[in-house]
Symmetry: C2
Subunit: 336 residues, 2 copies
């Protein structure tokens, strides 16, 4: 039996970032592990997620999800082993997915934890393709983007955790063409290997130019992870009755000035576009449907997921900063 520690290490928010986050915004600190209350688990975290949406929580803002608080541990998905339990539902030894990452041990309400099977897939897969980012891709494409067979799909941030799954799901579901934008030649190469019909490096030339070359007959769905110039290019490329699934806008997360793009939103009128902002939390009722489909796609090879690993809680802040700069291919995971 694992010894129950009395203290653990956590990453706290030291100061709110102004623009790009820096290591000084985070503090690695020792913290006591409290006694378990009723129906709680003590989890030894094995891996934790870093995701772009966390940048928004570092701001002091009145958003949909609440801010991280100064001098408190950050939060996010994590997978680990239950080493103590006062729950009758989840026993010691279980592997659980929960929301208290950014720390080596977490006290979690059993009702907020989900038992996962580490023999079916790696623990990290439950942070990505089998977890939140996979569901985001599936639900966003299907329900926000209202994807249908034959659509031409463009996805930005296509080499990231969500984007790479979007493109593969679209291909597996009968898209007539899938185009991805990413930030390096290596990523573009990877997208081609993953089955994208066309992929381009947005640093090479204006997005609008490259998108038109890749989709001369226009696009039907744009899955937006980036915003800005990508959204503007997509609005020009979209065909009548086109749809935008607005998932994220990573090009703006570290901006200190508001963005001027897209400047052509009025195109939505003549093209009868639907632009739908969405959050994965809207689609928890689709989780089972997604899990079944993703199991099939992983099993038949329609979907392959990549992961970029960093090791050690002390490296989690840099992993997050590097994620925002596009250092990852696929899901960025911090092993603990």
């Amino acid at each position: 039996m694992t010894d129950i520690p009395l203290t653990t290490r956590e990453i706290h928010l030291a100061a709110r970032p102004d623009g790009w986050p820096t290591p000084e915004n985070f503090r690695l600190t020792d913290a006591p592990i409290p006694e378990l209350g009723a129906d709680q688990l003590l989890v030894a975290n094995h891996c934790m997620s870093v995701d772009p949406y966390m940048r928004g929580r570092m701001n002091d803002s009145d958003s949909y999800i609440g801010s991280f608080q100064i001098d408190e541990p950050l939060q996010g998905a994590a997978v680990g082993e239950v080493i103590a339990s006062t729950s009758s539902e989840i026993a010691v030894g279980a592997t659980v997915l929960h929301g208290l990452g950014w720390r080596e041990h977490a006290v979690v309400d059993a009702s907020s934890a989900k038992v996962v099977d580490p023999t079916l897939a790696s623990e990290s897969a439950y942070l990505g393709a089998l977890g939140m980012t996979g569901l985001t891709a599936y639900a966003g494409l299907t329900y926000a983007g209202k994807f249908k067979e034959g659509d031409v799909v463009f996805v930005s941030g296509a080499a990231g955790a969500v984007g790479s799954i979007v493109g593969q799901i679209a291909k597996a579901s009968g898209a007539s063409r899938v185009i991805g934008s990413a930030g390096s030649a290596e990523k573009v190469q990877r997208l081609t290997e993953l089955g994208f019909d066309a992929a381009f490096n947005y640093h090479d030339a204006p997005v609008s130019e490259q998108l038109h070359a890749a989709a001369p007959e226009g696009i039907d769905v744009y899955f937006d992870n980036v915003g800005g110039d990508h959204l503007e290019a997509a609005l020009t490329a979209l065909n009548t009755h086109g749809r935008v699934a607005m998932c994220g806008a990573i090009s703006q997360y570290n901006a200190t000035e508001p963005s001027c793009a897209p400047r052509n939103l009025a195109l939505a009128i003549g093209k009868l576009l639907t632009i739908r902002g969405f959050l994965v939390g809207e689609f928890s009722d689709k989780a089972d449907e997604f899990a079944a489909k993703m199991a099939g796609w992983l099993s038949d090879g329609s979907v392959t997921f990549d992961e970029t690993f960093r090791d050690g809680l002390e490296n989690a802040p840099q992993a997050f900063i590097d994620l925002l700069r596009g250092a990852n291919t696929g899901k960025m995971v911090v092993n603990l």
Copy 2:
């Protein structure tokens, strides 16, 4: 019987405008009236419509509707009397609504003309509240904006032909609050008379400020006729699951540079917004439903429509230019 003339007067596009249109972009000219072909009508136009969307047709662009051509007559809705007919369906003496305005006489395919009853409503009403602008308001609010009872509705260009109908329909349909933005104190006063719960003059202070004061608990539907700063303010004010019905963007029609607003489109993500560009032509299947409802609303006083009249074809260009500058309250109509 009306004498059948051999010539008529038309307004031709003389040159494409650069920015705001000027009288020099239009030419009043005599034109021969051709012989009727099969199933055609010669219509003596009594009144014609000028609408903001026509500004887009003056550009040389690949839009949804096709450009006006240089040295050819402009087009738009008109109502007049049939003075000659080769149609077995529509006889001399009928009053018809058709698409060849900007001229005193038009040769129209009978299949493109709709017989209207001038004893039920004024002829000009069929250009506005009972016609295209009324249907735009109804279908846009209902089907693009997915209005539901209890919604708080904000409409820009609220004193115009479409906006003034949107606000009244929303009140009649159980909106909990209807707010309108317009460009003068007189228009704001009129909106209050028409039943808007709140109305403001966008010249008085930033729209975002005035909108927040008028709707401190936020809005649920934004009916957008203006774009730009109004759309930006609305995105901030919209509540979760809010909807934007993008009808027009008159603040940008005469711009020579692309617009920087809205800069906050990414708010759509956290608020789960649906932004739907639409055109009235999508909803011709709703025309009968609309006609029945509008007849009821006009009859019970829920909806009152205003009209601003100009007289004479030679004054049509200025009527259009003045429309773009907001000279009208309600529907701008040119009597011929």
